[in-house]
Each structure stands twice: as structure tokens, then as C-alpha cells.
Symmetry: C2
């Protein structure tokens, strides 16, 4: 039986209308590097978003479902695009300005962006790409920059402020279907082409509510949030939308992402909350050690993107009085997957195992662990499985391009539609996730899994071992078995495989100890310094490794 409730769609325009009226006085402060920062109220932001939507529709002929790319830092104008584009029924496509040029070109062409909104300070990055961008008709330049680099380009070039000038400050936002796409973001996987996730109005609305729940960021209009995490990195973890829902003020770093300016803006603007990846926080700690600044206004800092060393969390708390909270997610999860607030009632010391976990699942993110034997692993904190998730802000597919069907590669989606995260981990009985391996890095041996990370850590504990990487290799009997590749320290070349094997056998289950061993001069690394096991697997397949079988 149908209920009698109103069938009101959950739309980005509703968040905008609310934020720019009820919270009209909340502010977006954008750092300018020198002098006074730029300050703009949510009310003004709403008016400028309406002007921008009018310009896109009336001047540039943008219609429903057109893709609008943004190549921008975190600033007030980017927030205007965040709201104007989806609210008018078009699709916001945030472009990751740190991607290699060829990937940027691929992504813009695949999404078929009609417009690119670009910060003046990023024109040098965009200009060389323009001849390769088939779909792009308009470039909108925000803020000062050397527009001479655009001379001769095929696209029409517009100045953002001139486009907005004289247009109406309200817009009759259309009543869309809440399942319509509102924004898109491409993941840059390590294999294959980047893949696009299409967020819906519904998913963004629900995600914003979750961000404002006490289990997550849980901020109020007494707070100021500093998203150091870029707005092209999964919607700055949902902060721009969430803040308009509750009136949380925003402090935007623009292009000033070095530790010095970050420390300076925290000291002078006194945000209560910040979000970033660990490397930024590590840099900030070093900066503060060198040149102390007061960052005690921060009540809570969220660290996500990759695991945060506990020592860094302790340093923030003990040296600066700043509470750090881990979170886990990915582009495919909007991104909020887990948040590592510890359970209530524990001592500070007993909280640590929970705080260094990836965090706890909220009601809307349903997890399960696909075990190697084809069942689902129990939540006992010990039994590993590949994490699969389901929920209203989890993707079910990737964008198939202008003419194609959505893509559902089977290594990414289970037959019943859950997202396969590619991460292996365990879940405690009370819903805390700890990730241990990437699924492609575990060794599937006779219906059981062997953690390559665990083997590597055990090996590197041996005094003769400089580095060790373990990869799966085919095995007739067991399906897969581990191959240990080892870099010995200088002067330790006389240490043999037998000794290493005996060392391992004392530390891990016997059936997990590798039979195959190879000495290598160095572990191949990716551009960001991670072990590149793809290369090792390739070398093994090509017979380029000198493998000894014990």
C-alpha cells in the first residue's frame, strides 16, 4: 500500500535554496595569498549561482544533461558551479588537475564536456590540451590569468564575471528526477582507462545528510570547515553540499596548499574542522615544528585517502590539541564509506584500535566480505574477505560515454549489484573495518587467502632484508602461491633463502610460507613510491626473474 507522504525529490537545488536563504549569513572565505581573504555569504553565493545558470542557459545554450567541466581550486566560484550546474539540470564534471595530460584529455573527451570553467591560474595547464578536446565549445575563465595562452584556440573564451553581469539573481530551478545525474568524477585506476562515476541528486542529498550526522563530521553553523581536500577529489568529500545544508562556514585554500599558507590560514581564520589526505597533514606537522603557529581552533580533523600513521595522529593530539579521525571511502562511494569515531565508553588507550581502523559503517552503507571460498566471511575481526558495499550513494556502474551503456566490469560489481571495492579486510562484530590488502595483491591458495602485506612485513623484519615484495604466481596444485622477491642489505648477500624461510616459518602459518624465491636489485615503484607489483608480475611472466624453488 502506498503511503500518503509527499513525493518530493531530493535535489541539489533544494540544498542551494535552503543554504542561500535560511543560512544566507554563513560565509565562504577564500584565501588569496596576500591581503584580506575574499569573503562571500551563502546568500550572495546563491545569487551568483543563479546568474551563472542564466549565463549557461541563455548565453551558452546549455541544456539538460550537458556536461560542464571545472578545472579549479577550492574557492567560492567553484562552489557556485557546484550548485548552479546540477540545479539547472546539467552535470558538473570536476577535473583532477594533477592527472597526466593524456588522462585529462581522455576524460574530457569521454565525458564530452561542452564547457570548461577554469581558474586563471590554471590556464597554462589547459591551453596545450585544447586542440585535442573535441567536444569543448566554451572556456570560462575565473579570476586573473594569462589569457594570451588561449589565443588562436577553437573554443569561445569568456570571462566569468562578465558572463554573470546583469543577469537575474534568482532562477526557477527545474523539478528534476532525484535519480538524474548531478555530477561526475573519474577514477584513475592503475589499470585501463579512467572510469566515470555519475552521482545523482538523490545520492548527493543523502550523502550530505550523512556528513551532517553525528557519526560523521557532524558540524553546525558555529563551525568553519577547511576542505584542504580538493573539490575535484570526490566533491571535497561532500563538504560543499553538506555545509549549505546546515550553514557551516567554509574556509577555501584556493591554490595555497603548501604547509606554510595552510598553517597561516588556520591561525588567522581559526577553522574548527579540516579534511585532507595524510601527506598534507605530515607536511603541516613539519612546518609547525619549524615555525610554530596556533592551530588549536581545530576541534576535529578528518584524514582519508590513505591510512594515517598513528604516530601522526598522536602528534596532532599531544602537540597541538587537535583530534584526528580516520575515514575511508573512494570515488565509487561518494566517498563516505566509514568514519573512525571509536565506540562510546572506552578509555583513551582502548580507543586506539578503533581509531586506527578504517572506521565504522553508517546505516546507509551496507558491507559484506566476499571470502575466498565463495561464502561471506563473518564479522569477527579475523576472517578476511573482499569488501563489497551497497547503499544509496554507492555506484552500480561506470559511465559508458555519450552513446554506450553503463559499464559493469565483473571485477568491480558482483552479479547482484554490490560494488567490489578491490580491498581485502576484516570487520569487527560492532562494524569497524580494517583493510589489510588490495584484492589483487592477495594470494588465493587452495581456497584460502595469503596476505602479501603480512608476508612482506614479516620478511622485512629480518635484519638482512632491505625490501621485500610478495606476488601471486600460478600454481598447478593450489591455484596460486606466493613468490617472495627480496632485496638484501649491503653486506648481507651471504644470507640464504633457507634462513629467510625458517625465519618466516616461526612467524606465520606454515602453509603460507613461500616455496618460490627470487633476489632482485630493488622493488619496482610507482610514481608515488608504492610497490609496483604489476611490474614484478610481468617480469615473472616474461621469465625475467631468477626464481629458486625450495
Amino acid at each position: 500500500m502506498l503511503s500518503t507522504m509527499q513525493d518530493v525529490p531530493l535535489l541539489v537545488s533544494r540544498i542551494l535554496r535552503h543554504g542561500s536563504t535560511v543560512h544566507a549569513e554563513s560565509t565562504i572565505t577564500t584565501w588569496t595569498g596576500e591581503g584580506e581573504p575574499h569573503r562571500q555569504s551563502f546568500g550572495e553565493t546563491g545569487e551568483r549561482a543563479a546568474r551563472f545558470a542564466h549565463a549557461l542557459r541563455d548565453e551558452l545554450g546549455i541544456v539538460r544533461d550537458d556536461r560542464i567541466g571545472t578545472l579549479m581550486w577550492n574557492n567560492a566560484e567553484h562552489v557556485e558551479a557546484y550548485f548552479a550546474v546540477p540545479s539547472m539540470g546539467a552535470i558538473l564534471h570536476t577535473l583532477n588537475l594533477r592527472l597526466p595530460t593524456d588522462q585529462l584529455v581522455f576524460i574530457i573527451n569521454h565525458a564530452a564536456d561542452r564547457v570548461i570553467v577554469v581558474n586563471g591560474s590554471l590556464l597554462q595547464l589547459l591551453a596545450p590540451l585544447l586542440p585535442s578536446l573535441d567536444s569543448v565549445e566554451h572556456i570560462i575563465v575565473v579570476g586573473p590569468g594569462d589569457t594570451s595562452v588561449l589565443e588562436g584556440c577553437r573554443q569561445s573564451v569568456h570571462d566569468y564575471e562578465q558572463l554573470l553581469e546583469g543577469r537575474p539573481s534568482t532562477y526557477d530551478w527545474p523539478e528534476l528526477d532525484e535519480r538524474d545525474a548531478a555530477a561526475m568524477c573519474y577514477t584513475s585506476g592503475t589499470t585501463g582507462d579512467p572510469k566515470g562515476v555519475l552521482f545523482s541528486h538523490r545520492s548527493m542529498y543523502l550523502h550530505s545528510m550523512q556528513v551532517n550526522m553525528t557519526q560523521s563530521m557532524g558540524l553546525t553553523d558555529a563551525d568553519t570547515a577547511l576542505p584542504v581536500v580538493p573539490m575535484f577529489h570526490v566533491n571535497a568529500w561532500g563538504l560543499p553540499h553538506a555545509t549549505f545544508m546546515t550553514g557551516v562556514n567554509m574556509l577555501m585554500p584556493d591554490r595555497f596548499l603548501q604547509p606554510g599558507p595552510i598553517a597561516e590560514m588556520i591561525e588567522s581564520e581559526r577553522p574548527t574542522y579540516a579534511a585532507a589526505v595524510p601527506t598534507i597533514w605530515q607536511g603541516l606537522l613539519s612546518e609547525l615544528a619549524e615555525k610554530p603557529r596556533d592551530i588549536s581552533s581545530l576541534k576535529l580533523v578528518t584524514i582519508g585517502g590513505s591510512a594515517c600513521p598513528p604516530a601522526m595522529m598522536r602528534a596532532f593530539e599531544e602537540d597541538h590539541g587537535v583530534r584526528v579521525c580516520h575515514a575511508w571511502g573512494m570515488t565509487e562511494t561518494s566517498p563516505l564509506g566509514t568514519f573512525a569515531h571509536p565506540p562510546a565508553g572506552l578509555s583513551a588507550e582502548d580507543e586506539w584500535p578503533y581509531r586506527i581502523s578504517q572506521g565504522r559503517f553508517p546505516a546507509s552503507v551496507e558491507p559484506r566480505l566476499a571470502a575466498p571460498d565463495g561464502t561471506f566471511a563473518p564479522w569477527d575481526g579475523k576472517s578476511p574477505g573482499e569488501l563489497e558495499v551497497r547503499g544509496p550513494w554507492i555506484t552500480s556502474a561506470y559511465y559508458g560515454g555519450a552513446t554506450g551503456e553503463p559499464l559493469r566490469p565483473e571485477d568491480k560489481f558482483s552479479p547482484d549489484g554490490w560494488l567490489r571495492t578491490g580491498d581485502v579486510g576484516v570487520i569487527t562484530p560492532n562494524g569497524y573495518l580494517t583493510l589489510t590488502d588490495r584484492a589483487k595483491d592477495v594470494i588465493k591458495s587452495g581456497g584460502e587467502w595469503i596476505s602479501s602485506v603480512e608476508l612482506e612485513n614479516a620478511l622485512m623484519a629480518h635484519e638482512a632484508v632491505a625490501e621485500a615484495a610478495v606476488v601471486a604466481v600460478p600454481d598447478e596444485k593450489w591455484g596460486e602461491r606466493p613468490l617472495a622477491t627480496v632485496v638484501l642489505k649491503e653486506g648481507a648477500e651471504n644470507v640464504g633463502y633457507e634462513e629467510l624461510r625458517a625465519f618466516l616459518a616461526e612467524r606465520i602459518a606454515r602453509w603460507q610460507v613461500p616455496e618460490r624465491w627470487a633476489l632482485i636489485p630493488a622493488v619496482p615503484k610507482t610514481s608515488v613510491g608504492k610497490f609496483d607489483k604489476k611490474v614484478l608480475r610481468g617480469q615473472f611472466a616474461a621469465g625475467e626473474l631468477d626464481v629458486t624453488r625450495l
Copy 2:
């Protein structure tokens, strides 16, 4: 363009699954009056809800959309019914045990409840009704009670614990449409028959998220919530569902709603949050004045249902260190409409005007003020209008009964589907609502409104006036004009209408001053002591008032 997000429905069963696993250790404590309270974990509650669902389906033959009535206090078993019934696809119908007998009979028959779950302590209330309950087949008795009063009744009588015994502790909850009805609640309006609101899974899920947002209750698993507000009063303001979403512990008062036991359970169980109507809080204040108890564990208390005197709010804060927050809502709004947290950055004194308002609208509750001239009034804190609201947990109609279409009376719903609340008020530019009148009590005079409440207050400020009630009467020229009915104090019978009129003219706009006056011996009152203007309007229409026209 459709997004690529998963199409996962927002269901009550999802909240149950989450609460009974991730927050399995959170507890429901039910007060028993003497000895240890009854304590039950969320995990056990989930198992018992599954057992109950099996009993309903397998033993009683309950199927999709069947209505299950509950005549129960706030206790753990009521929470079990809250989750089991909607999760299995049936509809939970909470029955207000304070309603007059004839209304209870009407409501149960109109909803066509097949089952009534009743606390043993309420059997005396239910038994006399049974012969009139056509649809009810089963009575399930929860807890001890004198079942002899049920002897000879047509319905099968079951013991709740016996029904649950031996049944499976898990249930494969069906994947429903999120727009399906999950629960129903009848409003007991002052005119006409009670009307039923059918909440959906979607509306309850979204409402639960809102309750857990910082703008509303904003509790965590470190909190214990005491819903003094009954679970038959608009789902105890959403608390049972919301707590399962975030692991907030619950303290349930069962039938012990007198100020003494409430004070005692607060002192011994130390809840951090409580919710109730003003009369309960007034009673508690008096109780504490007489016999001091420590209620300082309470961080926040929500008062709703009717306006709370500021003096009471101050008394709680100054005498007991308990922060009080106003909220407004109605059955038709699930009920969360507004929450009176003041804006950030004000002094304690400047917060008061906001705190004594009805509160601020969240993003999901969109308000507008229908002005007397047919336009919508601006949000200037001055221009009144009838409050209309729209949102995903606002009703669009009333339940039409087993065979009928949903009811959409035009005094309750605008042509474009907004709920007409029947309340007249103003909204500030930053979204705070202050209600001034019931719509039926304002006088529509020449396209403007005259507040009867304002006229009454002005009149009662005259030293000769004991009571005054103002009602609208038809007027050929202006549509409606105010009729002032006045009760003079003893010994003040010589005061004339001219003097009262002159007194008013100095205090309110001249065009609002009544021309029609009548002396009456007393203002007719409703059973709860409010002015009964329906009676006055009837007396005027029947020519029973001695009206003087000045």
C-alpha cells in the same frame, strides 16, 4: 540522464539490521517501577523482532499491508513491534491510549487493524472496546495483566512471549518499495473524524537521518535518550528509529509517567537527553522543588507539542543546568518541522528570541506563508501567513480507509500539494518560525488578517476585563470582522464598550479595532481548558449573543 548510483530503497529493515548488528551492544532500558529495570541490547531486540515477525506471518497469517495496532507504553516490546511490523511489509498502527473510547473504536475500524498488541496493564482499557472492533482477529498481550477481562471475546488471545518462543532469530526481510506505507498515526482534530497519516519507509528513514543531524537532536552512542513523549504520539518524535541508526541508548518509562518516577529514573539511569510536552516538564519542576533529585545528566531536553513558557526554560537551565530546546511539528510532519537551536555567535540573552520561537527549518522541510491577499508573505519576521510546508516526510493526504481514495480536504492541502498546517505565523529572514494564531482564529478583513490572539491579549490587559475572546463574524463590506466577547471582573460592570474600544485603539492599529461587542458570563472552554471559539461562533450564528455595534 540517469546516474550510475545503486537504486537501494530506504527501508525500516535497513535501520533495524544496522542497529542490531553494528550497534548490537547499545541498550533499551525499560523502567519497571520497582527493582532493577529491564535491560535489553539492540542485538537481542533485533532477534526478538525477527521472532515476532515469524509469529505474525506463520502463526497469525499476517501478510503485506495488514495493519497491526499497538496499544502500548514506551517499552522494549513496543520497539520490537516498531521494527518487526514495517520490516516484514505490514503497517504499524500506534493507538493513542488517551483518546476517548468512541474515537479509538473509530480509528481501529477505519484502519481495519487485524491484530492489536496490548500491554497487560492496558487490558481494562481495551476489553470494553472489543465487541465493536469488526476487523480485529487477534489480541497479543505483552507482559502481566488481568486477562480474565478478555474472556468471552471473539478474538484469539495470545501471550507475546509464548508467540515468540522457539521461532528463528533472523528473518529474511523483504525488499519493499521505499514509498510503501510503514506506519500510520491518526490525528484527533477538533472537527470531524480522526484522520490517518500513512508514513512511508522513505519518510521514516529520512526523518531518522534528520533527527541524527546536528540541527536536531544530534545524539551519539555515548548518549542515552529518554522519550517521555509516548510512542503513540507521532512515533515518539522519531526517536526509536533514529537511535537504531546511530546506537543511541534508550531509557523507556513504560507506564511510569508521573513526575516522581520520571525524576527517579533520570537520577538513577542518567540519560543525557529527554523529549516531552511542556506539562510533563512543568510537573517535573514542581516535583524537584518538593523533593530534589539530580537530573544534571541531561545535556539537552526537547520540548514540543505546544509552546513552552520561557520561565520554565530558564528554570531548567538556572536551577538544574539542563538546556531546553523548543521544537515544532505535527502528525502530518512526521513530526520534525523545526528545531529551535539559536544561530551561532549570539550572546545568551540575544539567543532568547530564537529559542522561544518554534525554531528553524531544516533543508528537507520547505516552508511558505500563504498571505491573506493570495500571495506568499516575505520572510521578514513581521508579515503573517498560514504556514504551508513541503518535504519528503510531510503528508500529501489522509488515509481513505480500506476501499477509499486518499483524502485531500482543501483546507488541509493546497492545490499544488503543500500541507496547510492551519497555523498562522511569521518567518524571520534566517528561517525561524513564530506561530501566532490558528488559521481558523484569524479574522480575514478586507484582504488583511487580524490576529484574534493579539486582540484578546490587548483586551485582557484592561483592568476591568477578566477574560476576552475574539472571533470572526461575517461582514458585508470587509468579508469578516472581529467580534469581541468580554467577561468583566466583578465590580467592574459599569465599564462600557466605548472605554474598551478607546483602550484598544491606543494599542493596536485602528482598522483592527472591533465594532461588534458582546458581554458574556464566561468564555466557553474545551476539555483541556482552551478557549472553545467553535461554541462562540455557534452562539453568534444562532443569535444567542447580545451584540452591540458601535
